[in-house]
Symmetry: C2
Subunit: 814 residues, 2 copies
């Protein structure tokens, strides 16, 4: 029989056999046991003993199981450290998390004093009990700076050892081993073991052990850190996008814009409350506020100033209180003892423009934070992050201060980055609030000038009396009169239609005084039977209107409604308001604001604009009794009628007009055609446009004024191209104008309405006259040319002679 001793002896002597036997019978179970999730770590840590590799591997598998579980950073690392302190024979171990505040790196205790027997709860450092190490202090600081493991045999002999924490915790550090935990090139944490229990210091083997397990810690912290970073970046993206969504909703003032954005993103900021102060932007006081100071009446301001020299005045605070019951408070002109201002931090930030990240506010010596609870809930200020809101002009427009990160930890560099992204965005967005202010100012300035224009353009009440002498007659103002009372005056005052010839093509506005023309204008509305109520602008473009009306009453009126007639007549009145005596090309070339405003038909759109502006005036709005649909139609027709006076458009659409005329000839009788036109909006509008266009071009008082009018026309048409010396070419230009522009219209128009034929005749007659003038001029020019040529030839002959002479001279000389 084999007994245990013999078996052992045999096995010792035959390792090959032993291993084989083991591999078959034990190894599998050992290994699979190691990975059993429900397994407890089979490591006896009740007393220290030589660490076997068995025990070491136990530790490892503990970690693998941890990783297989849902990852909890602190718990996993705690387990690792517990094992490590056993393996390293370290009295205690700690984990310090790396972070930056105010651009300065620091390390904060996260797991403190982990020993082999420790419990997680005893070692996990709550945020308000953190010990924080600057990097230029202590062993861990040194490790984080150098990013290298350090083994310190005797701490007192090291320059970078600091007694600070030992004194705080009443502990005596003798030796230490510390190692950084990295994520790529970035330090994430530092792990440190202190006081080797079974020796004077940690050994090279300890270093090896620590290094070996670091990979696990690395992996755990990597997932933890990545999750954190991912969360921060996601929130940052949300903060920016949500702010943008609010900022671009509409233009508004700085208070409203900031508030909309700040309120929308509150859930992403992860803090208990924040307060935003808006700064007075006044750079220089008004003289009447400045003098009392200069004269010593009022003491000068001696408080802090912004970098650009403004007095620091928070004219408004908005407090966002998110802990407990959510509460937003807007405080206009807050007093300096308001909880958010009393510390002096916002003023300091406004003065320096610095980002200030403060932990343990109660103990801060530089600022005076309120130490007592701020409300009934007992909420106190713990950590504070304050930063300026700076616009694109580098001016500080406000200060945002954030209080107490939700998880109790101090604000770190990720918070700084996130909040800075927000404040940066808000600061830049001040472009929009500034624009809003500028826009309002501009709008007001425009309105003021518009008012002044109205004052000059509108006729005064006493001027109305020149036509409607209601004061003299009825002892009251026109708007106080009954319709019949006005009618009575008008029937006496308005000109006789026949006598004044307002319904004749040859109506001549030069024969009438301005006042008479106004009366004629009023009469026209009556003739067209569209009168409801009227107030007539004083500056009525005289000639066109009348002829337009003549036509309307003549023939076209049969397929225009009364409303359409009114629109056309009114358009006629407005069609040349504020004419500049220059043409569109001139506006463009001279860079007039009109050309900048209107892309095409510049002056026509301007006349339309001013006309509409006048019509918007309560006392001038002759359309005020129309309903919405009627009003839109009238305005639409005015658009067409006035813009159509642009000759450039006339060229565009004259073939269309030709077609309509052709079409009209296909109808057997007038009634059918009229009915058709009544229904066909487009055709009707086109015809209307042609009417407007034609008449604006040439249907001005004819025989009497032809020269004058034609001259005006050509000047306005050709202005920038024509200098004074070319005036003599006018007859030629006139002929061209008649041939290429006018003749067509009158020909087609005469086809459309026989009544127009006399005008065509006059036009052609006029062409003859211009042509005669042209021929006279040309003959004169030919004469001059001939004379010139003769003279030139003479001179040339002389020159030739002299050249010949000089040549011969040269010959002589050579």
């Amino acid at each position: 029989m084999v007994d245990a001793a013999a078996a052992e002896q045999f096995l010792d002597a035959n390792p090959q056999f032993a291993k084989q036997y083991y591999d078959v019978n034990f190894r599998p179970k050992v290994i699979s046991d190691l990975l059993d999730n429900s397994r407890k770590t089979a490591l006896d840590v009740s007393k220290f003993h030589d660490l076997t590799t068995v025990e070491e591997s136990e530790v490892l598998f503990d970690l693998v199981r941890d990783i297989q579980d849902n990852l909890q950073m602190e718990k996993s690392v705690f387990n690792l450290m517990r094992h490590l302190s056993f393996m390293l024979r370290a009295d205690r171990m700690s984990l310090f998390m790396y972070r930056q505040r105010n651009g300065v790196a620091e390390l904060a205790t996260r797991l403190f004093n982990v020993s082999k027997d420790a419990a997680l709860d005893d070692c996990l450092v709550p945020p308000d009990s953190e010990i924080v190490y600057p990097l230029d202090m202590g062993i861990v600081g040194h490790v984080a700076s150098t990013k290298k493991m350090v083994n310190v045999p005797v701490v007192s002999e090291t320059s970078f050892y600091s007694e600070f924490v030992d004194e705080l915790t009443e502990y005596k550090t003798k030796n230490a081993l510390a190692v950084p935990i990295m994520n790529g090139k970035d330090v994430v944490a530092v792990m440190m073991a202190v006081n080797k229990l079974d020796g004077p210091h940690f050994t090279a083997k300890d270093e090896e052990t620590l290094n070996k397990y670091l990979n696990f810690a690395n992996l755990i912290l990597r997932v933890f850190h990545l999750s954190y970073l991912h969360n921060c970046e996601t929130r940052r993206g949300q903060v920016l996008l949500w702010s943008a969504s609010k900022v671009f909703e509409e233009l508004t003032d700085i208070e409203r814009q900031f508030h909309k954005a700040l309120y929308t993103v509150r859930a992403f900021l992860n803090c208990d409350r924040y307060s935003v102060g808006l700064l007075d932007m006044t750079k220089t006081k008004e003289f009447f506020d400045l003098w009392p100071i200069l004269m010593g009446e009022v003491p000068p301001y001696d408080g802090p100033k912004t970098p650009d020299g403004r007095e620091i005045i928070f004219y408004k605070l908005i407090d966002y209180i998110l802990h407990g019951k959510e509460d937003i408070k807007v405080i206009p002109t807050p007093t300096p003892d308001h909880w958010a201002l009393i510390s002096g931090l916002p003023s300091y930030v406004a003065e320096t423009g610095l980002i200030c990240n403060i932990m343990n506010a109660a103990e801060d010596e530089f600022f005076q934070f309120q130490k007592e609870p701020l409300d009934d809930s007992g909420w106190t200020i713990k950590n504070v992050l304050s930063m300026p809101i700076v616009n694109k002009k580098e001016e500080i427009v406000g200060v945002a201060t954030f209080y107490n990160r939700k998880d109790g930890k101090p604000f770190d560099e990720m918070d700084e980055t996130l909040m800075e992204s927000l404040t940066q965005f808000l600061g830049w967005s001040v472009l929009n609030t500034d624009t809003y202010d500028r826009m309002n100012k501009l709008e007001n300035r425009k309105d003021i000038f518009q008012d002044m224009v109205m004052y000059h353009i509108k006729c005064r009440k006493d001027e109305i009396q020149n036509v409607l002498n209601t004061r003299e007659r009825w002892g009251k103002e026109p708007d106080e009169c009954e319709e019949e009372e006005l009618q009575e005056i008008l029937s006496e005052v308005l000109p006789n239609t026949k006598k004044s010839e307002i319904l004749e093509f040859h109506f001549c506005d030069f024969d009438h005084s301005e006042l008479d023309l106004v009366k004629c204008g009023i009469k026209m509305y009556y003739e067209l039977k569209v009168v409801d109520k009227f107030h007539i602008p004083r500056e009525v473009g005289a000639p066109f209107v009348f002829t337009a009306v003549c036509l309307s009453t003549g023939d076209l009126k049969r397929y225009y409604t009364d409303l359409e007639c009114m629109a056309m007549v009114t358009a006629g009145f407005c069609h040349d308001i504020d004419h500049r005596g220059t043409n569109n090309l001139y506006q463009m070339k001279s860079g007039n604001p009109l050309a900048k405003l209107h892309g095409s038909s510049i002056l026509e759109r301007h006349h339309l604009d001013i006309g509409k502006t006048l019509l918007r005036d309560e006392s001038l709005n002759i359309y005020q009794n129309l309903n919405r649909r009627q009003h839109d139609l009238v305005i639409h027709l005015m658009d067409i009628a006035i813009i159509a006076t642009d000759l450039a458009l006339y060229f565009k659409s004259r073939t269309m007009f030709q077609k309509i005329v052709d079409q009209s000839k296909t109808y057997e009788n007038w009634n059918d055609w009229t009915k058709y036109m009544m229904l066909e909006t487009t055709r009707k509008e086109t015809a209307m446009m042609m009417t407007a266009c034609d008449l604006s071009a040439i249907a001005k008082p004819w025989e009497i004024q032809s020269k004058n009018v034609c001259f005006k026309l050509s000047v306005s048409l050709l202005q920038p191209m024509m200098d004074r010396n070319k005036a003599a070419d006018l007859p030629k230009l006139q002929c061209g104008f008649i041939d290429f522009v006018c003749a067509f219209v009158y020909k087609e128009f005469s086809r459309f309405h026989v009544e127009i034929t006399p005008m065509l005749d006059r036009l052609l007659n006029n062409r003859k006259e211009w042509n005669a003038l042209k021929e006279v001029h040309e003959a004169k020019m030919a004469e001059i040319e001939a004379a010139k040529k003769a003279k030139e030839e003479e001179t040339a002959g002389a020159k030739q002679a002299s050249a010949a002479q000089s040549q011969s001279k040269t010959c002589t000389l050579s």
Copy 2:
């Protein structure tokens, strides 16, 4: 002796002993070997054999080593799968990555056909060879949808099996085992084993094995996925912040703004090229463009339209080509065969507003992407992501299309999110470009109205001839005349200083015609000897000016420079331009744009504004010969002098004036005081302001006009509070006005300058007169009151009598 057989027999019989021996002698080495980084996996996969737990654990440690290395997702997962296919006896295994495109989830092969003997390079699927599974197809799709492992014994019996890939790869799938890999609740990938080699299908044990190893895959993919997400979110934040930085740089047009942002963020977009098309925003054509279509002259547009009904016209394209040599191309009015448009995708996006994420563009049937290389480098379109740029009004303003993700993979939901954040931001920022356009329009409108105002306010050339009849006299315009020629006319035309009494306090503007006043005004500039060159605005505020000048020439002038005098006189001319006959309070209450523009001293700032506007006009700028420093001073003084005419300011600063007067008395002689005042800018300015203020208030022509002026004043001061019926209270109001406003000024002013004393006397005299009127009025009121009271008593008596009567009646009845 113990031999091997005996030893084995003994060990079998004594497991306790065997284990103990093993624990001491073998276990440690086995375990530590397992974790040796340089160790090769001791797994013989040359042929399949029963999987021992030993082998299983070998696999595990392979993984642990992988994790300890720097993590490479594909390599690590490949190793795991190689082992797994051995362990599961699977013919092959594959890994499918989960992603979303167009909001639809899909799975794409990443590691394909991994067998126990496979090499990574053979199994890693390059992006352009991916097989993509929709989730409603195949076993892996089913797994990703249900998020549960599935064991399919016979694929042909399963509804969700699809032959698609088998046909593609010429393989016959018989059975399969597939499992999802999760990150929290999200599917990250699906792992599938196909065709069990040593049995008809995968067993429950296989499921167990797969599940066990899944945690490792999970961890690896989790880090991988988190890194990817973090990278995407970081880029998104950068894209938003950088875009914002550009958008808020200045207001500009849409092209410039978009380009600035799109160019700045190019590095974050991770794609080869992108192209942005801007859409024409015209909603309705102008009537002259519409008619030809309505009349059938031009065929109507029959292409696609935006959701809000616009024709789809890309008026500008910007191409960002980032592969090879960076190139940005701006294409105005691109043709439809431009590479970025020819596919039809941008039009489709503009029409539907959808985000389109297309992979394998060459094979897309819906759009016609160019299949050939686009340039010499051989670059071809592979993957395309196109999305609309939508403004806050929900209009599509453009389309952005991104081509070929840098890593060759198709765009996924993170790309969609990132690009969408960018396009969303750009779309919203159209508020700013729209504002820019509106602002320019408004500015132009303001300028147009300003021009019109100038036209009405400025005197015409022919009106200038009324004063300066240069045409008649010298046959030329004033600006063509020599200084002496103008002088000659003026010496004849301008009034005699003495005779016109312009330097007298009792100068009365009511005695003069408008034209005379203009002449007086011009004369004043001469009297003050500040004339350089002049053009005088037609509307000169008459009374104040003259007395202001009188004072200047009287006494104050000794410590004012000529420049200061000129400023004051000019201020006088301008100080009431465009006066509305209403006061500041009225402007505020009536919501006049003036009140919206100016916060305080509303009308005064308006007079100043218009004054300055006039002075900016080239032909009116009397300061045009001043240097920069002089000009600033003059404008500053005008600011003070005109704003100071606001009575509200007078109350603010009168104590200061009092002090100056007191101070002046401390000087022994005038010269010292004058010298002091010459140097003390503030005092000088204050005195100037008081001068302006006083005179605007009451130093108007006195005895003759007092009633009239005082009436005007009180009306303008009290306007909104006073209705017509209170006119009778005027004398009382006047007395108050004199007591509380005027008396002080004249008293102090008389102390300052003895010359003023007569005015004070007149003021006090006037107070007497007003008081007398007041007393008369009060007596009358008292009389009326007494009569009223008497009547009331009478009525009351009657009533009482009647009440007594009715009472007695009641008594009778009861």
